[in-house]
Symmetry: C2
Subunit: 256 residues, 2 copies
Amino acid sequence: MPIIQTCYSPALYPLFEEPETIVVVVDIFRATSAICTALDNGVAKMIPVAGLDEARKYKEMGYMVAAERNAIKEEGFDLGNSPFDYLGDIVKGKTIAISTTNGTQAIEAAKSASTVVIGSFLNVSSLAEWLIIQQKNVLILCSGWKNKYNMEDSLFAGLLSLELLKQKEFETACDSTIAAGHLYNLAKDDMFTFLEYSSHRKRLKNLHLENDITYCLTLNTMTTIPIYFEGGLVSLTPEVLMQMGEESLVVSEKKS
Amino acid sequence: MPIIQTCYSPALYPLFEEPETIVVVVDIFRATSAICTALDNGVAKMIPVAGLDEARKYKEMGYMVAAERNAIKEEGFDLGNSPFDYLGDIVKGKTIAISTTNGTQAIEAAKSASTVVIGSFLNVSSLAEWLIIQQKNVLILCSGWKNKYNMEDSLFAGLLSLELLKQKEFETACDSTIAAGHLYNLAKDDMFTFLEYSSHRKRLKNLHLENDITYCLTLNTMTTIPIYFEGGLVSLTPEVLMQMGEESLVVSEKKS
């Protein structure tokens, strides 16, 4: 039976690295919520870049570029990592390079894995449904905050793992996963309030980004699943899987 | 106001390193429970050594040596890391070298800190009382399992942080600490059952070490606080603090 594990920090990812595992990268506030939003709104591809220098090179090459550090959009770039930056018509069809404090670092850490997908509360049920069909081991990689644990990514790990475990087609002996499940159960009736004392919620509140928080904590507003392919994140479709040569990665009937 | 932080893995310790912080190392199953038991039972000093080769050198030098890997006592050594190994008369007054899978690695990671003390459920209230008097920042360093998060060390971090926070003389914006507090509140009525699905509880159960589990989950059986001094762990006393030249580290009236 496939297993679920959770890694709380990109710095610990090497302890979990295993070629056949599907890695779900999550950065609830806000990189992976923004990436899901962007692809769902018709962005063609999101290219994660770790450093700002690399982001500047993409800018010079004429790309639309998003860059954020410490929750603030970097000077001289087109977009930040607020999901609301990706809801307009201007981004449709575009390939956008994106560099953020935590999320793109986590994607960078995981990109040697054969399959990397992107999770957020916005697409969690579709993602769970697809993972159940794969019947492969799953690692939830939390982006955290500068390699430290954070609460909101754990809550997502809790919900996703509970969704997988309830089908009795996965198992876990991973304490991080079990702990995350307990925390999600405590938080689920009102995640917004539960996160009141958490560090990044406070950081965003101080920046008057409470609308972002509410948006990022909303469940299942889309079925889009971003998948890493040829250096960037694209929407998972049967065509993409065929191009990846990943015949073993099937698409659910509902989505195909 | 001093702050409390929790680090879930010795591998992440460098992110938290700060010279003035008091580091509390914890490895509930079973290294720090054993070290507390040993010193409380009259062992003079416990010398943590990271590697088995170093442990063998201490053996050759005539020391009593404890060595454990993967919850099993290593062949050719005197003791393992079961607290019950440290309850007899044979250990009284001795200096014992100890090498374990996780706990001694965490102590090794932290020993550059100016003050390292050892926590377990056995001495948690005395430790909390002493930390409150110090009025310095506290970092709870969980040993985990081979650098991965574990549940039992988190529960300890939860209890200790709640004890410190309830006095309103500490504060925290550390998500790891907040999460650990939530988990302890969920578990506190029956930690033994709460840990039923956790990885190390299962590992010890399979080795028929359930008595060790019960022992290690018992609160406040002693007032002994092990402190790192001159290459080893000794009982914290006014004399030791004076020798350390740590006039700022006061001993509570009750203990002095």
